[in-house]
Symmetry: C2
Subunit: 402 residues, 2 copies
């Protein structure tokens, strides 16, 4: 178990300045990492098994020849045992750390609690790449998804929505695919906002290949998230299962363009099952790529035509909505770096992030990431390129919930 | 009161072959005709007055100098008295009969009962031009309305919807305006179906002038309806008040294109207030002429993208839906001409309308009109250019309700 300390640091101490205990021990983290190599995403078998056994016990059973295994055919177990033999979680964690990543487990401070809604298909763990806190960014997030082979109209709408959501302090989560997904990420990146790419492969695999540069930028400016360990490649089934993570992470899913019975509607179906909001951007009835969206809208979804309308809908739902209940976490559990940036903000008026970086003794990039976390948490708000405290007495209050 | 008999014939005997008593006597009909010249459409003052007085009493009071008048300022009464002096209902009825029309009153067999939902703003009477029964056609009708300055996309969608509704035996009701209205009427006419133009002027006035030919065709193949007597011209206020009649006559209103806060949304607002269905055809978010429709859809309306979806929604509502409850009226109250056409239909299989006209001893045009009435009533259905009885045991039964 050499390197367990490094794993622990990668897993739950990224926010710095906090010396509280790490909820997930190194051995469990390694076992969970191995399980992401052994089981396909969303496999209910492992989800149910982990209700009665620890990840370490599961891994030991898989690696001990002849150990009794629950609930699946012999042939299936043979395949899983072979994968268990080959799993090298220490090497995977070293690989992800080498690209600035970490492996998150349920129980980690950065773990997004809303994934629990997935029940037995909750991810065993998440491979994450990028500086921001996934938990904080996902608190105020919206999925913007749709067809790969979209029209110019769809790409335009996705980019405008992505930019509009990001400008208003919302995180844009999508699948980094061609078409609508890519346009939504690009819109968020272009406005200097927060965006998360949830991949159906390892966070060190650039898929689709034509999006290598986009995926690199998301990893630098935002976050890349995957259930699959490094170097895993996407499969058809993995795309659909990935979509359940996008749906579960976000408060709502906006479908921009989708053909009838298109795979890009699966995120919306997951969102509906999970009780998240389902929204659709209407388009010309004469366009086959709007037909799936219109079907969605006739069944259940809400018509949205811009970011403000999306936020009006998702902002009023969810227990953690800062607009209604003050900041989502108390001031004193803020990670050190975020707390220092928050301290640096003037009591009145606005400040540039570079100015705040100097005052907080950090880099402008780090300050920008922390400001977006603070925004997601309801402590600060963005006004163009400047930031200000959310004042007491505003709809959102800057006072911590003690 | 010379010519009272002619009025009576024009008003309630158009269906022929039925010698039952006429519910509205000639004197009341003349008085109501005069009141349509005196009061603007939708004036609640006259609606409330008629709750306690007969139309004849109201007219006498208006024409007797010094008679006490209820609930309006002196100046207003002076104007109404002046109009009462000038009203010539016998001449108006002669004029409308000269163009193949009639004047309908509440209580007439052809009066569409759903107008009662308008309460004190129910029309005092309706000037109607065209052979079909307004009551029968309105039973299964949908309003298709929208912007005058529509796009090519909107005009295309309105024409396709108009044709699709008419092909399925539904009456398309609109306002004969430029743009969406005209396209919807044209679509219905082109498919040889039923369409009603509700005008904001007299039924002998072609407004807008560029639609003179369209309005002539609606009057020949369908129906023209107006609250205003012959030769009255449209005013801005009359368009909005006309829209309440379109909304009340139909089971639902489809808005095809409308700018934000556009007047063409007023029919939808009336429909909503009256408990009718409100539907909208989505379009590109980037089109200002779809913005009003999307606003409507976000507030309350249902997304529809073709005629089948409209019918799915409106077909399941309304007390008289033939699809659920058999024909809307008993066989033995059918007008003579309709009863003869019904008799002519073969027990099995289909027939052309020309063939049915010969068998029923009438003209092909007359047979076509009666077949559409019978379709609206649930006795027959259309299959392309042919007609057949709705069979017992079908969803819609051909058996009369006794």
């Amino acid at each position: 178990m050499s390197g367990g300390g490094a794993r622990e640091e990668g897993g739950c101490d990224h926010d710095g300045g906090d010396d509280g205990p790490c909820a997930v021990d190194a051995e469990e983290r390694l076992a969970r990492g191995a399980l992401t190599r052994i089981f396909e995403p969303g496999d209910e078998l492992i989800g149910r098994w982990l209700r009665t056994c620890t990840p370490q016990e599961v891994l030991r059973a898989l690696r001990r020849p002849g150990a009794p295994l629950p609930g699946a055919g012999d042939q299936r177990w043979a395949g899983l045992r072979a994968r268990a033999e080959r799993a090298r979680p220490e090497a995977d964690m070293a690989a992800v750390e080498a690209v600035g990543g970490r492996f998150l487990c349920p129980g980690d401070r950065e773990w997004p609690g809303q994934l629990d809604a997935l029940g037995p298909t909750r991810p065993v763990g998440l491979w994450v790449r990028g500086a921001p806190s996934l938990r904080f960014w996902a608190l105020r997030s919206v999925a913007v998804v749709g067809a790969r082979a979209c029209t110019e109209y769809g790409a335009h709408m996705a980019a405008v929505l992505g930019a509009g959501l990001a400008e208003r302090g919302w995180t844009v989560i999508s699948g980094a695919a061609y078409g609508i997904d890519g346009a939504a990420h690009r819109g968020a990146l272009a406005s200097g906002g927060a965006t998360v790419g949830v991949l159906a492969c390892g966070v060190d695999v650039a898929y689709p290949p034509g999006h290598a540069e986009l995926i690199r930028r998301i990893g630098e400016q935002g976050l890349l998230v995957a259930e699959l360990p490094p170097q895993e490649h996407p499969l058809r089934s993995r795309f659909v299962l990935r979509n359940r993570v996008i749906a579960a992470l976000t408060r709502g899913t906006v479908v921009v363009e989708a053909a009838l019975r298109s795979g890009s509607l699966s995120t919306a179906r997951h969102a509906r099952r999970l009780g998240r909001l389902v929204m659709g951007v209407p388009g010309p009835v004469t366009s086959g790529l709007s037909a799936g969206v219109h079907e969605l809208l006739r069944e259940e979804g809400s018509v949205v035509t811009d970011a403000a309308e999306v936020i009006e809908l998702v902002g009023s739902m969810g227990e953690l909505a800062p607009a209604r209940r003050g900041p989502a976490v108390p001031h004193d559990v803020l990670p050190g770096a975020a707390a220092r940036v928050l301290e640096a903000l003037p009591g009145r008026g606005t400040a540039e992030s570079a100015q705040l970086a100097r005052a907080a003794g950090t880099t402008p990039e780090e300050a920008h990431v922390r400001l977006q976390e603070l925004c997601a948490l309801g402590f600060v708000e963005r006004l163009g390129s400047r930031w200000q405290l959310v004042r007491p007495g505003d709809k959102r209050t800057g006072h911590p919930i003690e």
